[in-house]
């Protein structure tokens, strides 16, 4: 069974169809890139998959559950238990240190565990910056904290909306390497990107245009030993 299935999903704002009859499937453990020009509906799709928004028409099955029919509260629970989110802009709570930002995510999931949070920071190479505030971290470091925060609860699905959009080459590679690790561990990854290099790291690329799936490209050269 697919982990995620969108069936004829449309999202309509007034007379603008941000998503227009989109049907896609993502298997468990798959790594998918989403590309497409600005305004093609990529973020809209991520919002719907991430339980932050509901489609106007269509079904969204996540682990067999139709999340387009669930209540706000149920959606919050699903998001907390199954999904890790990474954004283009590194959204950190500004008055909390790096490790505390990671622990916030634990707090609403299970129990804050500083040791575990520090290990997650270690994975992104930031253990020694754990006590720094976001303002004292570079953009790339903040994004790596966000990755640590997204993976701390071992989500089945990681959604990343242009995770490398504001990063330099070095940090982009660190984040991509983390994605490779997560993929090896069996995490499902959906990554929105404008960067062909980031898309090439994935197994399959879905291209959106004007709210429709224009084409899908399988990455023949994909390898992740």
């Amino acid at each position: 069974m697919a982990l995620l299935e969108l069936k004829n999903v449309s999202k309509i704002y007034g007379d603008l169809k941000a998503l227009n009859d989109v049907s896609i499937q993502v298997e468990k453990g798959e790594w998918v890139a989403i590309m497409g020009p600005s305004g093609s509906g990529k973020s809209t799709m991520m919002n719907i998959i991430g339980c932050m928004d509901k489609p106007t028409i269509g079904e969204v099955l996540l682990d067999g559950v139709d999340i387009s029919k669930e209540s706000q509260k149920a959606l919050t629970d699903i998001r907390r238990d199954k999904i890790g989110l990474i954004f283009q802009q590194f959204h950190m709570v500004t008055y909390l240190t790096a490790v505390e930002n990671v622990m916030v995510s634990q707090y609403y999931h299970s129990m804050p565990d500083e040791e575990e949070a520090l290990e997650a920071l270690d994975r992104v190479g930031l253990r020694e910056r754990a006590k720094h505030l976001p303002g004292q971290l570079s953009g790339g470091e903040q994004q790596r904290v966000c990755v640590a925060r997204a993976l701390i609860n071992h989500p089945e699905l990681i959604l990343a909306d242009e995770p490398t959009g504001n990063l330099d080459e070095a940090n982009e590679n660190i984040v991509l390497d983390l994605f490779r690790q997560l993929h090896r561990e069996g995490t499902t990854l959906i990554v929105v990107t404008h960067d062909p290099e980031v898309a090439e790291a994935a197994q399959r690329t879905i291209v959106l245009e004007h709210g429709r799936v224009a084409r899908e490209v399988i990455n023949e050269n994909f390898s992740n030993q």
């Binding site: 919002n47 991430g50 509260k73 802009q89 709570v93």
Partner: protein
């Protein structure tokens, strides 16, 4: 500078037994003294107490006004803070905070802030009032008596409770607004 000749008045109060005829006592004293005169001062004291009750009425109204005003200001402040922190709370929602928890976080924060504010305010008031009792007495020209310690403590406690209550109530509206923040707006904000 020419010094003005001041006319000094001294008074001796006479305590009488309950139910005693004050007029009789008065004339009895009058009969025994030559240079001093005995006056019944009941009316004088009532006058003072009347004007004092006028003052305390004004003070009561002042207190009510200050409370109402601070409540309104708190409402506005919480509203502004809520707008300021929309993004932060949307982020918390994204990280899996339920609306109920978020609302209670806001209300608790407001309660803690009010408590801290109340304590600081009361401490400041105590700091100003107690060392300067004599000064106040002098400038008022009236005896200024500090109430007994239990009364003071009770007043402080009630004030603190009132502050926390007002702060919490003022935050309810903002808490409700914030808990309804749309978690998707973080992503769309990009």
């Amino acid at each position: 500078m020419k010094e003005k000749k001041r006319c000094l008045v001294s008074a001796i109060y006479v305590k009488v037994r309950e139910g005693c005829d004050i007029g009789k006592v008065n004339s009895a004293i009058q009969g025994h003294t030559r240079k001093a005169s005995a006056v019944r001062t009941k009316s004088m004291i009532t006058d003072v107490s009347d004007s004092l009750s006028g003052v305390s009425k004004t003070v009561t109204w002042l207190i009510v006004t200050v409370w109402v005003l601070s409540f309104v200001i708190l409402l506005i402040v919480f509203f502004m803070i809520a707008n300021e922190r929309k993004k932060e709370f949307a982020l918390l929602r994204l990280l899996g905070t339920s609306r109920a928890i978020l609302g209670s976080v806001v209300r608790k924060e407001a309660a803690v802030c009010s408590l801290a504010g109340g304590i600081v305010g009361i401490a400041l008031a105590a700091l100003v009032l107690f060392p300067f009792t004599r000064l106040i007495e002098k400038s008022l020209g009236l005896p200024y008596l500090t109430p007994e310690i239990p009364v003071i403590l009770l007043t402080a406690l009630l004030t603190l409770a009132g502050t926390v209550l007002a702060g919490s109530m003022a935050s309810f509206w903002s808490a409700a607004r914030l808990s309804r923040v749309d978690p998707g707006c973080v992503l769309r904000g990009n």
